[in-house]
């Protein structure tokens, strides 16, 4: 957290993304998404801001919207491992398991292993391999995910 509040040597886009990160931790998803939008406008490359936007959409229970953002981003940045990982996660949570596995399997294992996201990749695989065996999440973790869901 100290690192997040330290604003020296940071670009304005980074500051906005860190703000989004903190807001997400406290459950202020709408404000966090607005910060991501601002970060994308401030940055020359919108890859990281849009990827984080997708991750926040997934975290806020809107995996379908996250998929839209991340699929568009993946078309523009085919080699982005992080984007593919968040896309796979959104697919799994949206119930699109086949698409999720396809996205994960399309990644080159060697490239993933050399990237900083190897642990995330491995955990994502392990978790969804286990969850598929029992047809979903454990009871207490099941939450309504769809936008049109009345229970939401």
């Amino acid at each position: 957290m100290e690192q997040s509040l330290d604003t020296t040597d940071q670009t304005p886009a980074q500051q906005q993304l860190k703000r989004a990160f903190v807001l997400t931790s406290y459950g202020f998803f709408q404000e966090a998404l607005q910060s991501c939008e601002r970060a994308a406008n401030l940055s020359d490359d919108e890859l990281v801001p849009r990827t984080i936007q997708g991750a926040i959409l997934t975290a806020s229970g809107r995996p379908s919207d996250a998929m839209k953002v991340l699929i568009r981003l993946q078309r523009e940045h085919k080699n982005s491992i992080l984007c593919s990982l968040y896309l796979a996660e959104a697919c799994f949570l949206a119930g699109r398991h086949r698409r999720g596995w396809k996205t994960l399997n399309s990644l080159e294992e060697e490239a993933v292993a050399q990237s900083p996201w190897a642990e995330f990749y491995q955990n994502l695989r392990t978790a969804w391999e286990e969850l598929e065996e029992i047809e979903g999440l454990p009871g207490p973790l099941r939450v309504p995910m769809g936008e049109d869901d009345d229970e939401r």
């Binding site: 690192q3 670009t11 993304l17 900083p116």
Partner: protein, 143 residues
């Protein structure tokens, strides 16, 4: 043969057989112990009646009669044929069955809890790594 008929105006072996058959047919829900007890009782009665007609059978008849009396006066817990003892045995078997069923349920519950715990730790790890990944991506972002 006439002397045997004269004893009780009936065939005691046939009586024992009849009693045994009756015991088998009248209450199918009764336990095996109760049926066996009634049959044994009938057989002993038959032997006691027939024994005096056989040379030297007096002793056998007394023994049979003694056994019947002994069975009648035995404590409840020692005779399965007596209603109380039979009930206790049935209750004991029932309790054993229930105990086995509960043990099985408990084992199933333990297995389910272990599975749930494993899944929770997997998901906790995933969420932590996901959080760290986002943080790292932001920190290493290029302008």
């Amino acid at each position: 043969m006439s002397s045997i008929d004269g004893v009780g105006n009936s065939n005691p072996i046939q009586d024992a057989q009849n009693q045994s058959d009756k015991a088998n047919s009248e209450s199918p829900s009764r336990s095996f112990g109760a049926v066996l007890s009634r049959a044994a009782d009938g057989v002993l009665a038959g032997v006691a009646r027939v024994a005096p007609m056989i040379p030297g059978g007096q002793l056998v008849g007394m023994a049979a009669q003694g056994l019947r009396e002994l069975k009648g006066t035995a404590p409840d817990g020692l005779t399965s044929g007596v209603a109380g003892g039979d009930e206790q045995m049935s209750e004991m078997f029932e309790m054993q069955k229930q105990s086995q069923a509960f043990n099985l349920q408990y084992l199933q519950l333990q297995t389910e809890l272990q599975d749930d715990n494993r899944r929770f730790s997997t998901l906790t790890n995933l969420m932590k790594v996901r959080h760290d990944t986002a943080k790292s991506a932001i920190n290493n972002m290029h302008a």
